[in-house]
Symmetry: C2
Subunit: 278 residues, 2 copies
């Protein structure tokens, strides 16, 4: 799926360049988090492979809230920039929500601004830029069957994955159960759910004691431990499941390319093209 999507995005970027557009994405860093720089250079490499320009605005760890907001305002106004990303985490003391409000919704390739989240919550997904991780979860789930009318569960209602995913599942007509940290009996809450989506960030959170035989499990967790990277699902349960996404190699690669599919969509939105049903 990731490589098919990548080929599609590459072709779209080529067509835009041939139409005289110089597609450019900007990413803003405001922290000294070392992992952030690894993620950013990986995105830069993908951008290059896809044929678009990529600018990093690194404010370092000492930027003030007003400097960060002014930077995002400037990129939102700059007609030569078509996509804007703000890397998390921010330095301590910076307010992510106030910062996100300064990214104009039409350039918000990560779908995190209140404007895009509001459209999704209003059931107007076709006009929004959708956060790539929940979008990847839905695309992967859809390979296993219709969501409409199915009972599904979202484990972990975090702001970047779980919360937008809940709205998107509702928009698809699923019956959605949300498991939170307050949930007493996870296994009971997951009973009867055909699909289980998990995005908590705790290794082996869901295993044979929580999941039921034959479930379809989409794992958006990423945990770094001594052995490398793993998800939120204990692989011991894999043989009992109808289908699952491994970590690494599942949700992640699809998410990475969806950022850039969003970028192409953002560019078309800015050019006033009709992007519905794309």
């Amino acid at each position: 799926m990731a490589s098919r999507l990548r080929a599609e995005v590459r072709a779209e970027v080529r067509a835009l360049r041939e139409a005289g557009v110089r597609p450019r994405m900007s990413v803003v860093v405001a922290s000294d988090d070392p992992a952030t720089r690894v993620y950013v250079s990986s995105k830069a490499k993908t951008a290059e492979a896809l044929g678009l320009e990529f600018t990093v605005v690194d404010l370092g760890s000492g930027a003030s809230q007003s400097h960060l907001e002014a930077t995002l305002d400037g990129l939102s106004r700059d007609p030569e920039v078509h996509g804007v990303m703000l890397e998390f985490p921010l330095s301590r003391g910076l307010d992510p929500d106030r910062a996100l409000r300064r990214i104009c919704p039409e350039k918000d390739v990560e779908g995190l601004t209140p404007g895009n989240l509001g459209l999704i919550a209003a059931g107007r997904e076709s006009e929004a830029l959708l956060a790539p991780t929940p979008q990847a979860c839905l695309l992967l789930a859809a390979t296993q069957g219709e969501l409409r009318g199915e009972r599904v569960a979202v484990v972990g209602p975090g702001r970047t994955v779980g919360r937008p995913l809940i709205h998107m599942l509702i928009n698809h007509g699923a019956t959605v159960t949300v498991v939170t940290e307050g949930t007493r009996d996870v296994r009971a809450a997951l009973e009867g759910c055909r699909f289980v989506f998990v995005a908590v960030g705790r290794a082996a959170l869901l295993g044979p004691d929580q999941l039921h035989d034959g479930q379809i499990v989409i794992d958006a967790g990423i945990n770094v431990n001594e052995g490398g990277v793993c998800g939120d699902v204990n692989p011991a349960v894999y043989p009992r499941l109808a289908a699952y996404t491994p970590v690494p190699g599942g949700v992640g690669p699809v998410t990475s390319v969806l950022v850039f599919r969003n970028f192409v969509r953002a560019l078309r939105l800015q050019r006033g093209e009709n992007v519905h049903d794309r």
Copy 2:
């Protein structure tokens, strides 16, 4: 509960007037819907009884989107106006989401702007203005016990009640199941839920065939029929429930006063006061 809240709001408005503030709420109408005018005059009466000034800006049914947005921009900037409401439905052809973005979040007494919904979805409720109907649902449910760790259901994920309510219930640590129009077996989906919240707008949607004995049911539905007003719950099931809110006389009266409690909170936000935990 409604009369206790009303007395609290009246005392707060009095204190603000004594401090030299002239509290003023403005409501914008952009339709020729007759019911809207009934609701607005009822709000005007409540406003008067609470001691605050109330202005109706009636754009009639022919207003353009740009006129509507300019009106909301003006009220958002006007320092003499402390609360702004936009009455729904709007005339055909007007875009409610684009209009709502023009109400500044600190004056959004109905809690419907993307800024306030975004804060709730980010778990930052204490900084937001909360939509009055889901707020009333939570206050009424809380009289029957803690929500944390309980299984609850939201029937009807509409934009003004169900969707914000889902986030608020998650923020309270409940395990939330959302029943949509795609749900095949409502009774099965509601099984094991201690609290059931319903906000669909269909008379007698939930009755003995859907609800389980001993559930606590909060009914935010309002349906007008030949016999008057009724909710979404069939009263035939009332004797089997542990508790319920009747319609009329349940969620409605609490919601009405919470608009004005939001107004006082909005005014304090604008004065830069610390409103957390209020």
